[in-house]
Symmetry: C2
């Protein structure tokens, strides 16, 4: 598809006439539907971030996870902006965690759209737009936000949204251009036309530059492309149909046969699989002539590396950022983060990153932290589970982690939330002994169901149907000792599951 034919289209928005519209809207309050993109599985923050627990689900810089912080950012209405509950796009494997995290901060999602496969942002956003259309609001304003960014100045962000809304209502697709703090080479840049008003027409999007080019971009007043957008659902779908019709078609097909299960929205897997994997920038923003940009300086960071996290966190007098069990002696400008790993003793480090978890520790110069991909690739090549599965594995009923293993045995600590219950299951090749460490358990083994408390134990022979429940009200912690010639997680037959995981 050529771009020339797309330069002039119907419904062109005149950015020189926003004032009346803007005043009118601020009086009546504009309704906005946040769309949280939560589908990433990035491992640039390995070993903390893993496929089963990616960056957006981690509490990297604050108490809240990045997803929670993103949801909270648009959880409070103001005079001029009224936010709906968020639509969330996530992978199947993260759905329980996503919902749990959002409920935990009082931001229940309006819907969770499960992407059958990762197909990048253009198709994901299209599904959300369809969802809004099917909800009877085809002209709803969508505020599309990656859920793994930090924004230091949320007031500035809200002001930028208020600035962008009238243009979006008028049919423009508005992106937010971050005022660069340095000539970064890790982001795409946006160039605006003219310099009048808060909403400017986009001249061009450019890819990540080299260092020299980045300096020139910053000198010309170009902005970072943060991947945050505001537009009407209808405007996006129209633009997509024009700019990337094969994407529009595949999404149409997938949405038409979507399954709806409460707040869960599942597009058709085979249809979605046929969709090209393409970013919203490349599929629409770079091709459409209806794109505007609102410049904003809001303390934004995508925390794309451990170095970036060090940069956005206030260091101590020696320039160190430390979290978790450890001691630093004579260290400078270093990040030491310990999330359940062994005690970290750091001596004489300068500009280093040390990240420890229960099963892996990363050590690298801070300036090399962009290269962590190489570490992850190497470990994946060698077949380790370390990049896919977190040491503490989350499940809808709670979590578990391996405490230790030997020849023919493994010990796990299983934590079950009050009211939680594991699936009714059996194992072909291992026996298990459960010992209650704290709390109360209801255990079922074959036909017998009984309650056991701290210090009580029960044996589950190979092949026996069994289930574990926490009747509450306290959390349950249980030690499981497994015995058998094969102890893999895949030796499980789920006969029934309250979380629908038997399919």
């Amino acid at each position: 598809m050529g771009r020339a034919g797309l330069l002039a289209g119907p419904g062109e928005y005149d950015y020189r006439r926003p004032l009346n519209n803007c005043e009118h809207q601020s009086l009546t309050s504009i309704s906005i539907s946040p769309v949280l993109l939560c589908g990433g599985s990035g491992t640039r923050l390995w070993p903390l971030s893993r496929a089963d627990m990616p960056k957006q689900l981690q509490a990297l810089a604050h108490e809240e996870t990045m997803l929670q912080a993103t949801a909270l950012r648009t959880a409070t209405n103001s005079n001029d902006l009224q936010f709906e509950a968020p639509l969330v796009l996530a992978g199947e494997g993260h759905r329980f965690l996503v919902v749990e995290q959002l409920l935990h901060v009082g931001c229940p999602p309006r819907a969770v759209i499960l992407e059958p496969q990762g197909r990048n942002t253009a198709p994901a956003v299209a599904i959300a737009a369809h969802w809004l259309a099917r909800a009877g609001t085809p002209d709803a304003l969508m505020l599309v936000m990656p859920s793994d960014h930090l924004i230091g100045n949320e007031e500035a962000f809200r002001a930028a949204i208020a600035d962008a809304a009238p243009a979006a209502l008028a049919g423009r697709m508005v992106t937010f251009g971050i005022t660069p703090s340095e000539p970064a080479t890790g982001y795409g840049y946006i160039e605006a036309e003219g310099d009048i008003g808060p909403v400017r027409r986009v001249r061009r999007f450019v890819e990540k530059p080299d260092e020299e080019t980045a300096v020139a971009y910053v000198a010309r007043g170009m902005m970072w492309n943060a991947g945050i957008f505001l537009f009407k659902a209808s405007a996006y779908l129209e633009a997509l149909a024009t700019c990337a019709p094969e994407v529009a078609k595949a999404v149409d097909d997938a949405v038409r046969i979507a399954e709806i299960d409460g707040m869960i929205f599942r597009p058709g897997g085979a249809e979605f699989a046929a969709c090209p994997s393409i970013s919203i920038d490349y599929a629409v923003m770079e091709r459409s002539d209806k794109v505007s940009v609102v410049p904003v300086d809001m303390g934004w960071s995508d925390v794309g590396s451990w170095d970036a996290l060090w940069r956005v966190t206030a260091p101590d007098a020696e320039g160190n950022v430390v979290r978790g069990a450890g001691a630093l002696i004579g260290c400078r400008d270093s990040l030491v983060r310990n999330e359940g790993g062994p005690f970290v003793a750091a001596l004489g480090l300068e500009g280093m990153v040390v990240v420890a978890t229960g099963d892996a520790v990363l050590i690298a110069p801070r300036e090399r932290s962009e290269d962590i991909r190489k570490v992850v690739d190497r470990i994946e090549d060698e077949g380790y589970e370390l990049t896919r599965t977190s040491h503490e594995v989350r499940r809808p009923w709670g979590s578990y982690r391996s405490l230790g293993q030997g020849v023919g045995w493994q010990v796990k600590r299983i934590a079950v939330k009050p009211g939680g219950q594991l699936s009714l299951q059996k194992h072909a090749r291992r026996a298990e002994t459960w010992v209650v460490a704290s709390g109360v358990a209801i255990v079922t083994v074959e036909q017998v169901r009984k309650q056991i408390g701290p210090g009580e134990s029960i044996f589950i022979p190979v092949g026996s149907v069994h289930r574990l429940e926490n009747p509450g009200p306290e959390p349950l912690e249980l030690i499981e000792v497994q015995q058998g010639g094969y102890l893999g997680e895949d030796d499980i037959v789920r006969l029934a599951d309250v979380y629908g995981r038997t399919a």
Copy 2:
């Protein structure tokens, strides 16, 4: 005590007449009693080396521990040298491990002398000399060796011993002077008089020099003082009585009331406590005029730091020395050692040391590895057990380690050797559940004694008298789940113990 009066003494040995003696001795074979100094509790190789498992009991560079390697060095007789079984000097807390390690390599000790307190080497060697005198061999040749050194060229060492023996038999106290490979500042130096023959009179001992002085020492042909000595027991005791009478007196008193229990020799604690803490160098060698030195170039290292270990180990093409689970990407000249810690991912390290264990990981520039004392001090100040107790705690019956803990509970893995048995014991504040992971256990709880196998478990209520045994022949691995408000190791009453630990 002044030194001037000691310069000329009786029985001066003439180093210009060794030939006849030497030939005579080599025909008849000289008997030598190795004395292994195993009392150190150094933490310069923390986190691997700890108070309960110091460097000499660790397998640092080879399959054998340093103590084992030291014992094996004098385990084989040759034409001219005939070695007795070793006398070992060790602390009470290490006695089981010392004996176990020596038996494991077929070097049963002749006696294990337990130092009631650490009082440095002069008193320790004196006890060994007394032991030999009491055994009816006051003129036995003692080969005093620290048990935490590496010697690459054992042939050279044996040749040096053969060279030294005639002088020692004639009453000299012979030290071995290591040919320096560099102007090291970490060792004391020895200056010899003249340069004739393999055995030279010592002009002086000097303390660890600064760098400039070290260069001058090396240029003058001075040698490192390795703390290895050969002398007659009687010669040492005489010299001690003259040079350090207060040490001689305290040791006499302590030895006079020593308890003997099989191969265990326990000097009187209060008497020994009254002894000054002083090294053999300072108490005797620097003060006596009967001291000679045999120069030797034998690939010696005291492995006094992680840097030293890196230097004595053959690195790979990138200069890295790697042991244990980990991946190095773009690293150079680094030591990565993982002994049961989490997977170590090292990216872009240059000249670094990373040492991981199950409960601590150290990261430092290699050149700072002499400063690990600072790390250990800091951790001790903060009250962590990390410098005293190893993650895997050795006991005469086997070992245990903590697998995890929570509020009110802890899980341990207990390994019991075939035939091993824990003490008959009880706990005032915790209950325990034992689950057999592999092997077979005989468990006693109050009046009931029974055998349980893999997957079987037993509950031990608070206050119940209990015991765990491994009837063999396989090793026993057992998971212990503890519950209680207090879970410290000191909540134990030992009622009976086959290893004599109830006292």
